[in-house]
Assembly symmetry: C2
Homo-oligomer: 227 residues x 2
């Protein structure tokens, strides 16, 4: 599929909000965009890489992960179609990645030379202002998202972390039932807890009638806002 067809209105990336279809092709070219596909588990960027290009997920999902010297993996964020990664490092002038970007499943990524658009006001001036305004919103919301994740992992117990996360997911999905984009190990890595402890806690919560689940499909049975 041609690149520009990924950005039709119904699935347009926040990055291209306000860009008309006719402009899109030119903009994509201006960004020096290229695409590449990856298989599950493949490394898209590795920690330590020097990055000049932002990544935009066209298909599939990717995980931002941070592995420490003791072998603990932390999933910082989960990025889906239309969302970007590495943009903070490109825009912040810190090219050296402290995180890795791993394909959570088969996926297709668009890379773009964003530095060029951010920094210099060249021929494509029409787009610059709009694109930069878009990226301000994206960075700001990612900021908020990171603070939201912190809300979960600053909780003291596995139980609280899990319930805090599930409550947010429920709110985001606007429903008491929802699917999570993680397997158990992934969820544990995202919440920074032990997989086995997480499993055990989930079993307990299910036994207590607080939640129900099968595989990655979850259901909140009581209002978790009460203690």
């Amino acid at each position: 599929m041609k690149l520009k067809n990924y950005f039709q209105p119904e699935q347009k990336s926040p990055l291209f909000q306000g860009v008309s279809d006719s402009e899109l092709a030119a903009l994509i070219k201006c960004l020096g965009a290229r695409e590449k596909t990856y298989g599950k588990g493949q490394s898209i960027y590795a920690a330590g890489d020097f990055v000049r290009e932002i990544g935009l997920v066209l298909e599939g999902r990717v995980h931002l992960v941070r592995d420490d010297a003791w072998g603990n993996r932390n999933i910082i964020a989960e990025i889906g179609p239309g969302e970007m990664f590495a943009e903070a490092f490109v825009c912040g002038g810190v090219g050296l990645l402290p995180v890795s970007v791993i394909a959570a499943g088969d996926c297709k990524i668009m890379f773009a030379d964003f530095q060029r658009v951010i920094m210099q006001c060249g021929s494509a001036c029409l787009f610059h202002s709009l694109l930069i305004r878009n990226i301000v919103g994206i960075l700001a919301r990612k900021n908020i998202m990171l603070q939201g994740k912190m809300e979960h992992i600053t909780k003291r117990t596995t139980r609280e972390k899990l319930l805090s996360y599930l409550s947010e997911q429920s709110r985001l999905h606007g429903s008491g039932e929802f699917a999570l984009p993680f397997d158990r190990q992934g969820l544990a890595d995202y919440l920074s807890v032990e997989r086995s402890a997480l499993s055990a806690e989930m079993s307990r919560l299910k036994a207590e009638g607080v939640i129900n689940y099968r595989k990655s499909h979850f259901e909140l049975l009581i209002d978790t806002r009460e203690k």
Copy 2:
């Protein structure tokens, strides 16, 4: 002191990078800037407030804090002179603050109607492009900072969290000796651990010869990168 005098070259805020002195006064006026002073512990913004103005610390330090229903306080970030707060919510179009902003000590804050500059391209067009580019950098770096903080609090033990944080501080100060901007309770809140457990761990680390400290002055005695 007049507002513009806070932004002389040697202490110019990242927000005003590239703005000449002569333009500064006009820009400050354009931003609708006003200033206000607060005493230690006073609330500058409260969680739940609807904010339209970003805050810029002129003097003193403020803490971004998040209190949960169980009375646990988490200090999300510590903001010093020249740095901003609430900009992510203003720029992200999410005016409802999930955090409070508390004066860590006596401080002076400048408020500015940033929405106006971000959103519309009015008379002050000369500044807009520059200002927006600055805010992109600020948001991006704050993003990276948040990820860095996550690096600490995702560690499993109090000891690891503390050493991770101290290593970073040492690196930031470019020295094995440095002062922290927190008291014990503040440090515990920042790292999401118990104050008493933190104290105990610190004592142990001192006894082992790993660190040394008196009050908030710390010293790293061995290379913490080795296990």
